[in-house]
């Protein structure tokens, strides 16, 4: 696998959406190609960062109470 093919699969690889065979080929390429390795690390860090920043908050507690009250009226 060359760098271009590897980069084409970047997000599918990070999202664990590839077949085990292709995943293995990419892992082999990343192990021997530092520039691609850096690029993949950067994108992974970005996705982890995104998830962490956006999941901090959930539904307000009053909302859950309102929904439960409403279900009781059904």
């Amino acid at each position: 696998m060359n760098c271009r093919e590897c980069t084409e699969h970047l997000y599918e690889y990070l999202d664990r959406e590839l077949t085990p065979q292709v995943e293995l080929e990419i892992r082999d390429h990343l192990a021997t190609c530092p520039p691609c390795g850096d690029h993949f690390d950067f994108e992974k860090l970005f996705l982890d960062f995104l998830r962490a920043r956006c999941r901090a908050r959930g539904a307000p507690p009053e909302l859950k109470r309102r929904i439960l009250d409403e279900l009781l009226d059904e």
């Binding site: 920043r53 999941r55 909302l63 279900l71």
Partner: protein, 203 residues
């Protein structure tokens, strides 16, 4: 001649109602945080998100007998939520996109920063609200794809089912949406002085 009166369905017993409520709480209500986060990003307003989630939960409860036990309740609920949003909220909250999203070709932030900050540590200095604001500025089709995939951790297949588009579309939207988001956050970081950036470089 009067038509035959349809049989009146028997009223559910109190025990059956209690069972229904218990299973709904166990399998549907546990996804409340996810529904709220998605609703907030779709509507852009906490009050509308509240109403949208409440309405979704009520609709889901009424249709609970149609939900196939053991399948993906989160996906099922999000589909109901999205339909409710499209039918009732989109018109009055946000305007449909007029930009051609296929024409968006964002640059690679990694290439911009690989000399100065290849580890992307500047991202760490960007706070929650700024990230959420950047997501809210994405075109709706990108925004919903990113939220379901990156925030809620759904697979391409699950996202495709909720958005009712082919998996290939999810992939290409996700690619553009992430690039666009990176670009917005990078521009913000440059503006804040978190990173020098390639000011003046032709993109």
């Amino acid at each position: 001649m009067t038509p035959p009166t349809p049989p009146v369905p028997p009223a559910p017993s109190p025990a059956a109602e209690a069972d229904k409520r218990a299973s709904f709480e166990r399998e549907a209500l546990v996804h409340l945080d996810s529904l709220y986060r998605v609703a907030l990003r779709l509507t852009g307003s906490p009050a509308d998100a509240d109403d949208l989630v409440q309405e979704t939960m009520l609709k889901a409860y009424r249709a609970w007998h149609q939900f196939e036990r053991g399948t993906n309740a989160k996906g099922w609920l999000l589909t109901i939520l999205r339909h409710a949003f499209i039918n009732e909220y989109r018109r009055r909250t946000r305007h449909p996109e007029t930009v051609d999203i296929d024409a968006i070709e964002p640059f690679s932030v990694f290439e911009e920063v690989q000399d100065e900050d290849p580890q992307g540590t500047f991202f760490e200095r960007i706070v929650d609200d700024e990230v959420l604001r950047a997501i809210d500025q994405l075109p709706e089709q990108f925004r919903e794809t990113v939220v379901l995939s990156d925030v809620e951790g759904m697979s391409y297949e699950e996202v495709a089912r909720v958005l009712e588009v082919p998996v290939g579309t999810v992939k290409s939207r996700l690619f553009r949406a992430r690039r666009l988001l990176q670009q917005k956050l990078y521009d913000y970081a440059v503006g804040m002085g978190y990173i020098k950036g390639n000011a003046g470089n032709a993109r």
